[in-house]
């Protein structure tokens, strides 16, 4: 029976809905108008009714009436109002409206001269555009729309509110920023910052925050804008006053942050140091809404990322480091028991809170050792990072690994907390299967964990990391290639023969040489560094050179002959010097006259670093107490090396002259 009643009820509802739609087709325009008004009253706050009307095809008819120039202004306005009401419903409603091409119809309506009608259209457009399901691109399809919206800004407080709200929601890319900027968004919106209406001021402020984000052109323009004789930055500072609504303080702080990061405001400007930064720190405090705390922390992290002085100030402001620990306490045990709604709310924001806190910690600790120490000493910090690394939310994982990376720059932390908490384990797990952005961070952190003084190095080696790193060197992303080879380089430093052989075997000489011709200088440098680390201690040198000597000598020749930076050449000469230190490997140089000529050339180079590296090489070749040293000394004397060494003893560089003197002493013995 209940089912029947339910069905009957539903049928009745549909019937009344149908009645509303039918009335839109009445031949008498007066009756149509009354029908629309009745429909308006019927749908307010009634999502079911809205859905029914949409299903029954009210939207196309309403749009038709709205566009018809024969319709009275009153009717057209009421149609826009009803459509606006329908848009207030569910996301599905919005989708249906967009599918019925409501946007172009409403934009067309804006060309009317009737302000009430325009306002109704704008209100509806606003509701449609602020929905996440509406493609923002629709605002930019017709190039005449933006300039027309700009011109409507002066009409009324309502047009100002709706248009600025549309702009702030539809400005998502640098292209959007440029379009709005080119149509005079700044000049048109700036005066609205001192509007008598709070809503207008707030929406205008939001516009500036989305316009200035990572946009130097906009930011540079903004610093010179005057609003009623006052600099825009000062207007923003006033909006950050502590008696202003939090939303306004926060958005104004965002504007100034973006302008600062776009280099339009110096980081030591008092409006940043004494106003924006303290305001953002305040936003992180417990008394604010979870959303505000997330936004505050993220914005603050972004603001101070490049500036150690701001990091230092923030680290001592209002116990920020300790305050952030609270971000990990959601959902709290209290909320779970007492209040389901609260629990739901907390759960929804828990991930966001955690990732924001990790980001802020990462930013805080990116330069200063004392701050890093303070962070790791925060309650359960390392445990939180470790569990963050394996969270389901990718955002949290990324932020956690960023935080870990920032802290891994500390020698002390690597030696202590990192090892104590075996952070390498979740890190290795993370590296197995993750998107590139996570991989970059994770592998970069791994580089630090593989530094020779890091106690985590051993266990990481045992976990089969070499293969993983070698595969990274084959990535398309230069950042991943650098990190892969860098980690290998760190790993090879003072490593056992076994490890070195494993690296060479796993990487393969082919890949090694491919990396030596990598377009990315960073990759090249780290590969040379790897070679140099592989070629250390005599037995290792001879062993590797006996198996790969030919290719390595070839690669060295190529690099020395090609156009490269001093650093690259220096690194290469150092490799050569290492080879010259081997027992059997020496011969690879001594029998290569071309190479000897090159060494001679670099001994006379104008750059001291290269001269020094080349002299090292010679010094190793002629070293006494080694088999065949006499012959090598003779050969090099013949080639004129002794004369050069004499000259170098006169060098103004003490290192170089000392090194040359030591070399010459080999001849005296």
């Amino acid at each position: 029976i209940f089912v029947q009643l339910e069905t009957k009820f539903r049928r009745e509802v549909t019937a009344t809905s149908r009645h509303y739609v039918d009335r839109l087709f009445d031949p008498d325009p007066q009756k149509v108008l009354q029908g629309v008004i009745d429909m308006k009253n019927a749908v307010i706050g009634n999502n079911k009714q809205k859905a029914n009307l949409i299903v029954l095809g009210a939207v196309p008819r309403l749009l038709y009436l709205l566009q018809q120039s024969s319709s009275s202004m009153e009717l057209r306005t009421e149609c826009a109002v009803v459509l606006g009401s329908l848009a207030m419903g569910t996301e599905n409603n919005i989708k249906s409206l967009v599918d019925c091409h409501i946007i172009p119809a409403l934009l067309q309506g804006l060309l009317s001269s009737d302000l009430i009608f325009i306002e109704a259209c704008l209100r509806c457009l606003r509701t449609v555009f602020i929905s996440p399901v509406t493609p923002v691109q629709l605002l930019y399809t017709d190039p005449t729309v933006i300039p027309h919206l700009m011109s409507l800004l002066s009409n009324s407080l309502r047009t100002q509110e709706y248009i600025t709200q549309i702009f702030s929601h539809c400005c998502k890319t640098p292209e959007h920023q440029t379009i709005l900027f080119n149509h005079g968004a700044i000049q048109n919106i700036a005066p609205l910052l001192i509007s008598p209406s709070y809503k207008v001021r707030m929406q205008a402020l939001k516009c500036f925050s989305v316009l200035a984000y990572e946009n130097t052109q906009v930011s540079m323009t903004l610093v010179n804008v005057l609003v009623d004789g006052e600099l825009l930055t000062q207007v923003f500072v006033k909006m950050m006053q502590r008696d202003q609504p939090i939303e306004m303080q926060l958005t104004a702080a965002k504007c100034l942050t973006y302008m600062c990061r776009a280099s339009a405001i110096r980081t030591d400007d008092s409006c940043i140091v004494l106003k924006t930064l303290p305001c953002l720190v305040r936003m992180c405090s417990k008394e604010h809404l979870l959303e505000e705390r997330v936004e505050g922390a993220e914005t603050l992290a972004y603001l101070m990322e490049p500036d150690v002085e701001l990091q230092r100030i923030a680290s001592t402001t209002d116990h920020l480091v300790a305050m952030l620990a609270d971000y990990f306490k959601y959902p709290s045990s209290v909320s779970a028991i007492t209040d389901i709604k609260r629990l739901d709310h907390d759960l929804k924001h828990a991930h966001e809170l955690r990732q924001a806190a990790f980001k802020l910690y990462a930013s805080l600790g990116s330069n200063d050792e004392d701050i890093r120490k303070k962070i790791t000493e925060t309650e359960n910090m390392m445990d939180r990072i470790v569990s963050g690394l394996s969270e389901s939310s990718i955002k949290v994982r990324l932020a956690a690994v960023r935080c870990l990376h920032s802290l891994s720059r500390s020698v002390q932390q690597l030696r202590t907390s990192f090892h104590d908490h075996a952070v390498w384990k979740p890190l290795m797990k993370l590296l197995q299967n993750a998107p590139d952005e996570v991989l970059v961070m994770a592998s970069s952190t791994l580089c630090n964990l593989l530094l020779e003084f890091s106690p985590s190095k051993e266990p990481i080696l045992e976990s089969g990391v070499i293969e993983l790193l070698c595969s990274l060197t084959q990535s398309d992303s230069p950042a991943l290639r650098v990190n892969g080879i860098w980690a290998l380089m760190n790993m090879a430093f003072q490593a056992d023969q076994k490890v070195k052989v494993e690296i060479v075997r796993c990487l393969g000489t082919e890949q090694l040489f491919r990396l030596l011709s990598d377009p990315d200088t960073n990759v090249l440098m780290k590969t040379l560094g790897l070679l140099r680390n592989l070629l250390s201690t005599r037995p290792h040198i001879d062993q590797i050179m006996s198996s790969h000597g030919k290719q390595i000598m070839q690669a060295v020749t190529l690099i020395l002959e090609a156009e490269h930076s001093i650093e690259v050449k220096e690194q290469t000469l150092c490799i050569l010097a290492n080879i010259a230190d081997g027992n059997t490997a020496k011969d690879l140089i001594m029998t290569n006259d071309d190479m000897l000529q090159k060494i001679k050339y670099y001994m006379g180079h104008s750059n001291v670093k290269l001269q020094l590296a080349a002299t090292f090489c010679v010094s190793n070749l002629i070293w006494n107490e080694e088999d065949g040293s006499q012959e090598r000394q003779d050969k090099l004397r013949e080639m004129g090396f002794v004369d050069i060494l004499h000259k170098l003893t006169q060098s103004s560089d003490p290192n170089l002259s000392d090194r040359a003197k030591t070399a010459l002493q080999q001849y005296l013995a």
């Binding site: 006053q241 502590r242 008696d243 004494l274 303290p278 100030i313 001592t316 402001t317 209002d318 116990h319």
Partner: protein, 608 residues
């Protein structure tokens, strides 16, 4: 610098004796303190302005107007630590209090502590205060430069903030609303350091090694930290708390109570037509006969237009025995009559043919609806006649009514009913200043200020404004004084004689009263002030000339009105005025009992 060497140096003496640069600094200090702490009544609770040369350990040296502190002990062990307190504790009515200390030199080791401490019991012996560094003793709170730790009444610190040294500016903010304290370093808040602070703490610094020098800023200079922004936040919070305060639970109860209050106020002040209309539209009963209201209205009109003789007569007719039972009231009315005679407005002198000054017309025929008879042009707030901050509990002291020209004005919270220290001397000194008639405006202004201070009601910012506002009454008077001088008793010789005769009667009445009822200093002063008018050739422009102002009729009028109502067993004060008075008293009491939120809740803010 002898003028203020005693630390507590009151402003007045400094202004008189100090050099001009110091004057400037003092002026800036006073302005800033007034702006920051408007709710503080400095007569009751003076603000700290410098370090106290008395309240310090001997290893401490002071200089630069007692703002600079240096260490002069040998500084070998922690026992050589020494500290100094400010001249006064922090008044709770500050709401939020702030001072800054600049480290001029960290000296040998930079063992400096900045903070707060409570006063010791015995000032001479100082037994419980060893003057260790701030934070080491009982009820002593400090933030130390060498390790950045905070010390809360003990020798072991908690990690708190960064270290500080030469060139740093350290601020200390006490929140007297939630009893917490935070510090700032170079304009950055370091977060809460202490909670559950006790009341009446003094700003304190402690030093421990030679060469340590610090300068205090109690408001002499702009602060590095934006304390006003912090205060704005708390003002907003407190006001939101007030705005959101839950009112009556039951439907309509709140509204009907408000309506009753309004109605009773209208009846009290005899706005009969308005009261009738209001009662009708809000469906209320009026608890007084209309005729009775009209009678009171009639008397009030007479008083307010300066026709005191008629007023007294009418009162005696309509309310026989009233004045007989209240000799003090009658005396007050008579004194007023005397003043009105000098003014030339009283009916007895007017009928003698004197030219009456225009000011008699300053009150329109009927009291203005919804604005109290208070003739205050300087603001739109309806000041409530009959309100007195002293009588919210139903105990009226006639003294304040009669001698204070503004006893009906809600006093700023905290400034309540205190008498300023200099009561008499001011009159004398002021009168010696030259007066020129073409300078009337300014001089009047000046005198009103001076006189106000000598009367019993503390600070009055309203009075001076009142005289310069283009109010109908004052405007008339100004015009007249520019054209022709006002004349005593309207210029009639007969009237003058009548006045003098009346004065003699008054004198004997006063003597009679003293014999009957004992000494009454208020009556004595009242009479003395009234007679003083005759000592000047131009009483209107004399230091006691304020008495001639029409606004002075208001307290008389409301006292008489209250007395009449009392005889009818009606409240002598309207509930509305009582509520306002009670609110102001509550705020003053909050200030005294250490509830800082009173700083951000002025009654005036709510009397739109």
């Amino acid at each position: 610098m002898s003028g203020q060497s005693s630390g507590g140096g009151f402003l007045m003496s400094v202004v008189v004796h100090g050099d001009s640069a110091l004057n400037e600094q003092e002026k800036e200090l006073n302005q800033r303190l007034r702006r920051l702490y408007p709710a503080v009544n400095e007569n009751e609770t003076p603000l700290p302005r410098s370090w106290s040369p008395k309240d310090k350990f001997s290893y401490i040296g002071l200089s630069q107007n007692n703002l600079r502190v240096h260490y002069k002990g040998h500084g070998k062990t922690p026992k050589d630590a020494a500290s100094v307190r400010a001249t006064h504790p922090i008044p709770a009515a500050c709401g939020v209090y702030y001072f800054e200390v600049k480290i001029i030199s960290k000296g040998r080791d930079g063992y400096m502590g900045i903070g707060l401490s409570a006063q010791g019991v015995n000032m001479n012996r100082l037994p419980d205060i060893t003057f260790a560094k701030a934070g080491w003793d009982k009820h002593s709170y400090g933030y130390h430069g060498d390790d950045g730790h905070s010390f809360c009444s003990s020798g072991t610190g908690q990690p708190y903030g960064p270290t500080f040294t030469t060139g740093d500016v350290i601020g200390c903010c006490v929140n007297l609303i939630n009893n917490t304290c935070f510090y700032t370093k170079n304009g950055h808040s370091l977060g809460i350091a202490f909670t559950d602070l006790p009341p009446n703490l003094y700003p304190t610094v402690g030093l421990q090694t030679p060469g340590e020098v610090v300068d205090a800023n109690f408001g002499q200079h702009p602060f590095v930290f934006d304390i006003e922004d912090y205060m704005r936040e708390w003002r907003t919070k407190i006001q939101a708390q007030i705005d959101r305060f839950p009112i009556g639970e039951r439907e309509g109860e709140w509204q009907s109570m408000i309506q009753k209050m309004v109605a009773s106020y209208l009846v009290h002040h005899s706005y009969c037509a308005t009261a009738e209309a209001f009662a009708k539209s809000t469906d209320q009963a009026v608890h007084e006969e209309l005729a009775s209201i009209k009678n009171r209205q009639k008397i009030q009109k007479l008083v307010l237009s300066g026709r005191m003789g008629e007023a007294i007569e009418t009162t005696q007719q309509l309310y026989p025995n009233l004045l007989e039972r209240n000799p003090d009231l009658l005396f007050m009315l008579k004194v007023r009559q005397f003043i009105e005679m000098v003014n030339g407005t009283d009916s007895e002198v007017r009928c003698l043919g004197g030219r009456s000054p225009k000011s008699q017309d300053s009150y329109p025929g009927s009291p203005r609806p919804f604005s109290s008879p208070s003739h205050k042009a300087s603001s739109s707030q309806p000041y409530l006649t009959g309100f007195d901050s002293n009588c919210c509990n139903g105990v009226t002291s006639n003294k304040s009514h009669s001698s204070s020209p503004h006893s009906h004005k809600p006093c700023p919270p905290g400034s309540g009913s205190t008498l300023p220290a200099s009561d008499i001397s001011l009159n004398g000194s002021r009168s010696q200043q030259p007066i020129t008639s073409n300078d009337v405006d300014m001089e009047v202004d000046h005198f009103t200020n001076g006189v106000t201070e000598s009367s019993s009601n503390g600070f009055l910012n309203g009075t001076s404004k009142h005289t310069t506002e283009p109010d109908d009454c004052d405007a008339d008077m100004e015009v007249e004084s520019a054209q022709s001088k006002r004349q005593l008793c309207g210029g009639s010789q007969a009237a003058i004689e009548r006045m003098i005769h009346f004065g003699r009667e008054l004198q004997s009445m006063s003597e009679h009263l003293r014999r009957e009822c004992g000494k009454n200093s208020a009556n004595k002063k009242m009479l003395k002030d009234a007679f003083s008018l005759l000592a000047y050739s131009d009483p209107w422009n004399s230091p006691v000339g304020y008495q001639l102002d029409a606004i002075q009729r208001e307290p008389v009028c409301s006292t008489l009105n209250s007395a009449i109502l009392e005889t009818h067993n009606l409240p002598k004060q309207p509930p509305l005025a009582q509520a306002v008075g009670q609110a102001a008293q509550c705020l003053a009491m909050m200030a005294r009992t250490g509830s800082g939120s009173c700083a951000f809740a002025s009654v005036d803010d709510y009397l739109h």
